[in-house]
């Protein structure tokens, strides 16, 4: 697998890009684990989300197109061995900007969870029994 090279040029501030849509975040997380082609991304996203996020081919490639346009991912130069895989497949990798955006999103989600857990009635120990009484109407 080709190492991820830092991208150069004028890039947007990663801190301003979150929140990411769940599907985009899952795709970026998946590519953070290594280069993958479309079907492998679909499978990995499904596994990563315990089947909660299922991407069809059309939705997947629309998302990939958007992430490519934004410079968060790039097409990998490496091609699979034709003996083991279809050489026409395109593999995608996370760019340096994509890595920084994922980190920013993780920090944002962590802050949110910390904040939520600090709220009365929302501590993790109390969540297993259902919603607090005051929230049951949701």
């Amino acid at each position: 697998m080709a190492p991820i090279q830092p991208d150069t040029g004028n890039q947007p501030d990663p801190e301003t890009m979150p929140p990411l849509p769940p599907a985009a975040f899952h795709i970026l997380l998946t590519l953070g684990m290594g280069e993958r082609h479309g079907y492998a991304i679909m499978q990995e996203v499904k596994r990563l989300s315990d089947g909660r996020v299922r991407l069809g081919p059309g939705t997947l490639y629309r998302m990939l197109k958007g992430l490519l346009d934004d410079g968060l991912i790039a097409e990998s130069d490496a091609r699979p061995d034709p003996a083991h895989d279809d050489e026409r497949r395109r593999y995608y990798r996370l760019t340096d900007l994509g890595q920084r955006v994922v980190r920013a999103e993780i920090r944002r989600l962590a802050r949110l969870v910390t904040y939520a857990q600090a709220m009365p009635g929302w501590q993790s120990g109390q969540l297993s029994g259902g919603l607090p009484a005051s929230q049951e109407g949701w």
């Binding site: 490639y61 629309r62 197109k65 958007g66 026409r88």
Partner: protein, 304 residues
Amino acid sequence: MGRFLRSSRRAPAQTSRLLRLYRLALYLYPATFRRAFGEELWQTARDAHEVALAESAWTVALLWMAIGADLLRSALPERINAMRRALLLVAVMTCISGITSVFASLNLYLLEDANPLTTAAFGSSPLLRVSYDAAYLSALVAGVGLCAIVAYAAFGAHAAVAWVLAVLALLVALAGFGGLLARAPLSFVSLFAAFAGLTLLSVFAGWRVAGRLRRSNSQRRSAVAGACAGAGVALLVNALAITLHTLALNPVSHPLYMQGQIPGTHLNALLIGMVLDLALLASYGACLLLSPIAGRSGSQQRSR
């Protein structure tokens, strides 16, 4: 991963049929998207199909139902996004139709306002009077709408532009029928109320469209599209009024025309205005399908 390639090389007949159908269905995507990702979409569907095929026929059926739903869900927004230039088409059509309608309505006004037979004709058919006033007022509102399109395209969505347009609308109303204020105050009030009502309706339509578009477009683009929608509302009222008026007037038999008091209506601006207004209707229909009103790409969603 090699499993998928080997499977595809010995694909059974039903696999080929479904995948051939899917390859055809990929034409639902715009050409640019299809060229960039069509082969990969097909490969991905093929991979998923091969895995499902190894499980059961039921899994295959469920898979293709999901792929079909996904195709429809993703192809339409992608096609809409690919046709962003439709906004230019709509803006141009609105301007052409608006200019012609304003011209046609003013022509109608010049032909009929000073004619001695007009009063008698209007007296015999209230529809003539109402459609005449509606055509005139909607042309005035559409004129302000056209100014809004140009102003927003030139200066962007600034509050100052909105204020200038409001003042312009007031001036247009006063110039259009302000003379009645002294001669027939009640007529002025009723005409002004109708003018204000239609203006507010146009503004509301434009505001709604611009608000919807602002989620995925620039402020200027949204404002221009909103102005197109606002002008479009006035132009549609104008088209309806001119059509009603022309039908009620019945140029073949109505005394106004039979007596040669008014030049024949064949191919005059009134009829050209009607045709172009109908073309505007068609362009708005196309806009619903082609404009960026409903589309948000993944990147646009992400970059909210």
